[in-house]
Amino acid sequence: MDYKVDIRDIKFQLFEWLDTAKLLESERFGDWDLEQMDMIVDEALKIAQEQMAACNDDGDRIGAQWNDGIVTMPESFKPVYDTISEGGWIGLLGSPEYGGMGLPETVGTVVNEFFSGSNVSLSLTLMLTRGVGAMIENFGTDQLKATYVEKTYTGQWGGTMCLTEPQAGSDVGASTTKAIKQDDGSYLISGEKIFITSGDHNLAENIIHLVLARTPGAPAGTRGLSLFIVPKIRVNDDGTLGEANDVACSNIEEKMGIHGSPTCSLVFGGNDGCQGFLLGEELHGMKLMFHMMNAARIEVGMQGCAAAGGAHQQALAFAKERLQSRHWKMMKDPEAPQVAIVEHPDVRRMLLTSKAYTEAMRAILLQASYYLDLSHTAEGDEAKKYKNYVEVLTPICKAWCSEWGLQVAHLCVQVHGGYGYTKEYAAEQYMRDAEIACLYEGTNGIQALDFVARKLPLAGGQPIKDLLGMAEKTFNKAKSDPELMEPAWLLAAGLKQVETISKELGKRPDGIQLVLINAVPLLDMVGTCLGAHYLLDQAMLAKTKLAAILEDAGIDTDDKKAYKAFLSDNEEAAFFHNKVQTAIHFAYRALPTVPAKAAAIRSGEKAALYAIM
């Protein structure tokens, strides 16, 4: 695949919109400077384009293969995995003490966009491996840390998270995998996990599974779960590899997409010889697992954004090449030449909508990552405040971005016409691959329930109030600009609905039913308002920068012709101009869905409950 991405927008959001420089002033990130951040972004993009993208087609067409208990990845994956591991890209967020690079999450999120957009299957292995390293770094004993963390950060050993069982999907608390303590302090693990991403493969010499299991006598539900480190191959005291640890891969799934990612059924202790090591304390499993899941939820949201961003670039390039039909101004003239489809207003609408949603997703994900960094660099109440912002934004990152990622991928297939349905073009793979982000790491339905039931009321509702309050400020700022005035008022109207509907639902006797039916639209309403808020904020910044360029060049925007000619010749000016158009488009197209959804919810309509199914 030829991976294309809007690097200008990424750098704008990372370096011009967010105050990344301020982050680098903190002690935690003080060893890094902006120039290095820029180099890291460029280098990651180069690796994504030249390496990850180059083996993407093998992942999609050949896929992971299961044979007699062993999973084999396409041959082209291994050298790429090695390049990335050796370059330090798996451990980029981990602490330098264990071979990590100690970089900010904000930059990690950008790197994830590239890796996920160029080869989502391979990126999943990287993400899980990083996640396991971070979990052991945060919660392991010194011995566990010394044994596992550096090996995972350097990719020598891979990682997985094992929650799901046939009867325990969304209902993780229904897990039955057992862990029985042994005299030497280790545990004997037995049970079956399904749908385990990267559960077996030949990219790394060992795989470290983090397994949720139940100790004897543990209470029912998630409160009875503990978390265990279960290596595929046992590790000797000196760190070398010993004998196999009785973890068998009994099958991999045939799937709709992400064919290059092995989705494994794993049997632990089929021969009563599976050794596990407790991470943290007994019965704290779910609490710990949430740390990995929260990080993974932002990353899965990025899968949606990355698919959207990649698909949009493919569609844009295609639309400039494909000649079909006459220009709308010459619609009636059969002799008129065919034009590139990018000239057709409907195609332009699809392109701008997909651009707008992509940039809104990117903004939400980067803003959440930035708050995560601030939660690490700040102290006390400040740190807690930022942590709570991340908590509230996490289900939005995951569900809003995966949902719209899929929708955008669909629009981009549509731009391609029939060609988009063929494997000649990358758009269809983006669409097939995007669906999974809506499902795993907690389905979007479960995310929405988490959002309304746990995140909205979090800390007395202050964090969501703060976040929406910042959107209100953007409204106040933008409303005095004639060009952004109406979009700003659309935002204000959306915010008003979000605020009133939550209050109203709390007071209604059928409130609980309505919340359960409408959790998904409620999350979408908030995601849409935040997306609009960030895009308008970016548009205001873009306007200032554009004005400076125009003044320098002596261009008067009232002279429409001269302005247009200038834009066609000045990429930077065109970029800022487009940022403004994008925000306007999003405001008019996306924000009106907020009051519409609110009206539906407010009506109290419950046909879904009354219908006979």
């Binding site: 060893d31 890094w32 400077d33 120039e35 290095q36 180099m39 890291i40 280098e43 180069k46 690796i47 390049t83 050796e86 370059g87 330090g88 890209w89 980029l92 690079m101 970089l103 010749d569 000045n570 990429e571 930077e572």
Partner: protein
């Protein structure tokens, strides 16, 4: 063995090139500058040699202030130190002047090998390496695609029409490098971190006795972009294939002048 690698910063090959207002320079606005791709092979080879045999890699560039980013890129990939002769706007494309400047920097340094890209993308003159070798009185091989360095000698090969030439040369020597020689590495994150602390020696041309304004061997009078691709011509051949073929031959001969 210590290696010197001469590098240059060039517009990213994906950049859209526009001609500047004065007509003899490109418009640098919006251009992303990168390490010239051929120089990547030279750097990679130097890194491999010093990793195997010990010694250090010094990268040298003669270019404007912005060229420092390219030196940092080389340092991030593993070069040990860098030398930056700051200037070169006026002497762009003047291979001899560039070679003289590099020679002035290198003449008193200690090295076993000098590695240079076969040409720099953009001006594509393919002259600096050979000129530099002559000025430093070094044996040289141009456009190598393989290299083995032994005790005091080297074996290098280069591709020629329909075959391969194999050279043996004493050290020190100068080689210009091209695609096929190796697979350039990516900068590792550790390398990017370390690059900040590695030394970049900054030198003004006058410090080494170079007067950039004097003795130009080459002047760029004007630049122009290649003509835009015209629209294709479609010959309808369904009803009269033979006639269409005749037309095609006529067009190829008279308009395209291809036959």
């Amino acid at each position: 063995m210590n290696c010197i690698v001469c590098v240059t910063s060039v517009p990213d090959t994906a950049s859209v090139i526009k001609i500047g207002a004065d007509g003899n320079q490109i418009d640098e606005g919006g251009i992303k500058w990168i390490l010239s791709p051929h120089d990547e092979y030279a750097l990679e080879e130097a890194l491999k040699i010093t990793e195997a045999q010990g010694g250090e890699v010094t990268v040298v560039t003669y270019g404007p202030a912005r060229a420092e980013a390219v030196l940092r890129d080389c340092l991030a990939r593993g070069a040990h130190q860098a030398v930056h002769v700051i200037g070169g706007e006026e002497t762009l494309g003047d291979s001899f002047k560039i070679a003289q400047t590099l020679a002035a920097i290198l003449k008193d340094r200690e090295y076993g090998l000098i590695l240079v890209g076969v040409q720099s993308v953009g001006t594509d003159n393919s002259q600096v390496g050979q000129m530099l070798a002559e000025l430093l009185d070094l044996p040289h091989v141009a456009g190598i695609t393989s290299l083995e360095v032994g005790e005091g000698t080297l074996n290098a090969s280069r591709e020629v029409e329909g075959g391969k030439e194999i050279y043996e040369s004493p050290l020190p020597a100068l080689l210009t490098c091209q695609k096929g020689l190796n697979e350039p590495r990516y900068a590792a994150l550790k390398g990017i971190m370390a690059a900040k602390r590695k030394p970049v020696e900054k030198i003004e041309p006058s410090d080494i006795g170079i007067d950039e304004g004097a003795g130009a061997a080459y002047r760029l009078r004007s630049l122009s972009l290649p003509p835009e691709k015209g629209e294709g011509t479609l010959l309808q051949g369904e009803d009269d294939p033979a006639g269409a073929a005749g037309n095609l031959v006529k067009l190829l001969r008279e308009e395209a002048k291809a036959i």
